[in-house]
Amino acid sequence: MFANWPLLSLLIWLPIVGAVPVLLAGDRRPDRARWLSLLITVLTFLVSLAMLPPFDVANAAMQLQENHVWIPLLNVNYHLGVDGISVALILLTTFTTVLVIVGAWGSIDTRVNQYMAAMLVLEGLMIGVFCAMDALLFYVFFEGMLIPMFILIGVWGGARRVYATLKFFIYTFFGSIFMLVGLIYLYFKAGSFELSALQQVGLGAREQAWLFFAFLIAFAVKVPMWPVHTWLPDAHVEAPTGGSVILAAIMLKIGGYGFIRFSLPITPDASQEYAWVVIAMSLIAVVYIGYVALVQEDMKKLIAYSSIAHMGFVTLGIFIALALTRDLNNPLTARLGIQGAMVQMISHGFISGAMFSCVGVLYDRMHTRMIRDYGGVVNTMPRFATLFVFFAMANCGLPGTSGFVGEFWVILAAFAANPWVAAFAAFTLIIGAAYTLWLVKRVIFGEIGNDHVAKLQDLNGRETFVLVAFALAVLLFGLWPKPLSALMDAPIAHLVQQILTSKGA
């Protein structure tokens, strides 16, 4: 029954338009704003589920397309469409946003209506990024996202929020403006901003190299990859819990998504030629950033660094695939690498979202994020401790959790390409376990650290709901990743075909 609805437009505009009544609910009636935004996000989630019945999993093509002329003179279209990769990420977005809204119920008290409205606008724009099939439209969503996030961190953030949010904005803007120049260049080559046209246009080696690096800057900042990651710890630490969750769970994924949508299909030859750069950067992220995480004293910072390390796996999986397809002619394992990267993205969305929510739970009670202020939380918050330990295990990639699946596939693919790369990448299993478990030991276990910890209240119903929802998702895709991989298999197979063919003009 939904087949004829403009589902994607509905998904994008429902939260954005819904932000208006939320904003108008005013400062003095926070509950009205909360319920209204909850209603809107739940509706959005339901609409995103409604995408599934008409969606054909076996088809690699863009589906549920909507195409309207936006700027006729420039051949720019409002063109939306999704394949399995987008669907997975959209579901992650709508699911996480519901939990974020619920999670903000108790922890955001000032200017609730503005907070909720910014969250809703952000949700719509992020969904737009995953749906856009026109590069200019993509860019508008991609950049537009910065505005609500800037406000979210700056208004509801911690002590150094102004520094963090300015750094976040300028860093990401810096990354993407070169992409805009690159896209304009491509426009003159292809005669339109249509993604499919950009993917087909022939490009010489030099052109590809320039474009590849323009895209690399944009997406590497977003992912973020070493050495352009420094905005992330600051932004994460200062952002309110909801902002951190969105940032870690979804916004970082947009970088990985960009590599898959832009870098690989548009500049396949340059991607192959410079894959070693990205692979090296990924390995540094996995190993070096892992060690950096080890020494953090701030819980949020620790999880932020762990996010960078995990996102290193994503970029590794994506670019190891190039070596596999071209040099070793092993497209099947290449598919495994990209699959692994995608599963890792989704799984990291759940796990990091849950970890940040956990820290938020503690922060709401103690108003500190320093590890040394805790200790023995298990004694006063047993239910919380159970869930926290579960997410920590998932974060180290324990089999049975979704954290294991992606990492394992990426390492398998890397092993086929180069055992040394795989060996380096596998380090993460040790370092990840080290920093996560040490965090657990210092925060959760041991004697009760101080009086404040002794007075802690365990999770209330709302918080339990959020964390259990995350936990179920982590467990589901850990034990049964099939639906996820089946959803994304067709477009990934198509992508591997695309990067097999050289574009040399």
Partner: protein, 479 residues
């Protein structure tokens, strides 16, 4: 010989001239308490003129090519009239609070509008000069409107001296062009510039003309007057000279450089690209250091002029269309930015320091929202209006095979982000300063119009294609 078609073509300007004289007389009989009559009459005059421009059955040119009436002139005139009307709405409360609510303000502004209308329709060097001087002389007087203020007078003198110097340069350049080509008519100059094999005298003229244009635009390194004048003039005047004249300056540049000196385009394009890069650098870096919002916006104007000039160096219709789109978007956005300063101002308080916006989100969330839209638009962040303007200019630059210029522009756009974000930071992230919790007392028309004006920056998300279509058609691009 003058004939009826010529007169009909000139109808909007003729009407405006007559109406200004009538308004000047009317104002003599209006008591200060009834000044609203002058105010509404002035807006009505702009509206009628706009209708005449829009609806006129005009010939493409009149008076033997002295006066050109084409799509470019029409769009620029409509935009100038619209922006001026917005300025009048925003300025009223501010003027009244400062005992500046006088008929002269309206009359001088209208004369400046008349000058701009002639300027963008000029088909002859003499017309350009006359239009420009009418605009400039009115502006000098406007800046000095607050005659008891030392800052204002200083700004006016500076503006006058440097402006006169620029006019002199321009005139000197024109005289050399006349010497080289033997004509004042722009189309004939164009033909001569294409034909001339050794154009050294002509090129000398071009240099002086570009310098004069640079002064009028406020492009670096001829920008020295701009921050002082913007800061020193009463905000009601700053909003006027900061918005509509940029449209006129674009029109003048197009007439002089493309219609007139198109034959030596590679030469002036090179000069303009130097000016553009210098303006982007000076404007964006200079703005970072400012604590006065008017001064910051002045430096931001310089950087925007740099962007606008980048559109001109492309030398194709698409480039001019992009530059015109940029000029319109800038003028519309700048009126909101300066309008907000007047919205927050009250008797004895100027609200022109960036710190005066502290905690605006707590005091007036709606206007903080409008101001943040304005700042994001000036910074060129999608999905706001300013982004599409920047996008079109970048596209024109890439089209001209000047990728490095596009990269330079992109780098300075990043630098520029910082100072716009600082205004938003002050409004949203900082608490209200002590004793700043006064209510806004701007009048209702201003609140409504500035809200619409601000929201349009966002709403044009859907409609900018139409506007670009008009600009493109004006330059003969057909789909």
């Amino acid at each position: 010989m003058m004939n009826l078609t010529d007169l009909l073509t000139l109808l909007p300007e003729s009407f405006l001239t007559a109406a200004i004289c009538a308004l000047l007389l009317l104002d003599l009989f209006v008591k200060p308490a009834q000044r609203n009559i002058t105010h509404y009459c002035a807006i009505a005059i702009l509206a009628v003129t706009a209708w005449l421009v829009f609806d006129g059955n005009a010939a493409p040119s009149a008076f033997g090519g002295m006066f050109v009436h084409d799509g470019v002139a029409q769009i620029l005139k409509l935009s100038i009239l619209l922006v001026s009307a917005l300025v009048f709405v925003y300025a009223r409360g501010y003027l009244r609070d400062r005992d500046l609510y006088v008929g002269e303000y309206y009359v001088l502004c209208l004369f400046a509008v008349l000058g701009m209308m002639f300027l963008v329709s000029a088909g002859n060097l003499v017309m350009i000069y006359l239009g420009l001087e009418l605009l400039a002389l009115s502006s000098y007087a406007l800046v000095a409107l607050q005659r008891d203020s030392g800052l204002s007078s200083e700004a006016a003198i500076k503006y006058f001296v440097l402006g006169a110097l620029a006019s002199g340069m321009l005139l000197y350049g024109m005289s050399m062009i006349y010497g080289a080509t033997g004509t004042l008519d722009l189309t004939k100059i164009h033909a001569a510039s294409v034909a001339s094999a050794h154009p050294s005298l002509l090129l000398f003229g071009v240099v002086f003309v570009v310098v004069g244009l640079g002064f009028k635009f406020g492009a670096a390194p001829f920008h020295m007057w701009l921050p002082d004048v913007y800061q020193g003039a009463p905000t009601a005047v700053t909003v006027f000279i900061g918005s509509a004249p940029k449209l006129a300056a674009f029109g003048m540049a197009y007439r002089l450089l493309e219609s007139g000196l198109g034959g030596v385009a590679p030469h002036w394009q090179q000069m303009l690209s130097v000016l553009a890069v210098a303006s982007l650098a000076v404007g964006n870096i200079g703005a970072i250091a400012q604590s006065n919002l008017k001064r910051m916006l002045a430096y931001s104007t310089i950087s925007h002029v740099g962007f606008l000039l980048l559109g001109l160096i492309n030398g194709t219709p698409a480039g001019y269309a992009a530059a015109m789109f940029y000029a319109i978007s800038y003028a519309v956005t700048a009126t909101v930015a300066f309008g907000m300063i007047m919205l927050l101002a009250r008797a004895g308080f100027e609200a022109e320091e960036i710190d005066d916006f502290k905690g605006l989100n707590q005091r007036a969330p709606w206007f903080a929202f409008i101001m943040s839209l304005t700042m994001f638009s000036l910074a060129g962040v999608p999905p706001l209006f300013g982004f599409y303007a920047k996008f079109l200019v970048l596209k024109a630059v890439v089209d001209a095979d000047q990728l490095w210029l596009a990269v330079v522009a992109a780098v300075f756009a990043i630098v520029g982000i910082y100072y716009y974000l600082r205004v938003i930071k002050v409004m949203y992230f900082d608490p209200t300063a002590q004793g700043e919790s006064h209510a806004l007392h701007a009048d209702a028309p201003m609140r409504w119009i500035i809200s619409l004006n601000g929201l349009s920056l966002f709403a044009l998300l859907a409609g900018w294609g139409t506007l670009y279509g008009w600009c493109a058609r004006a330059f003969g691009i057909v789909q």
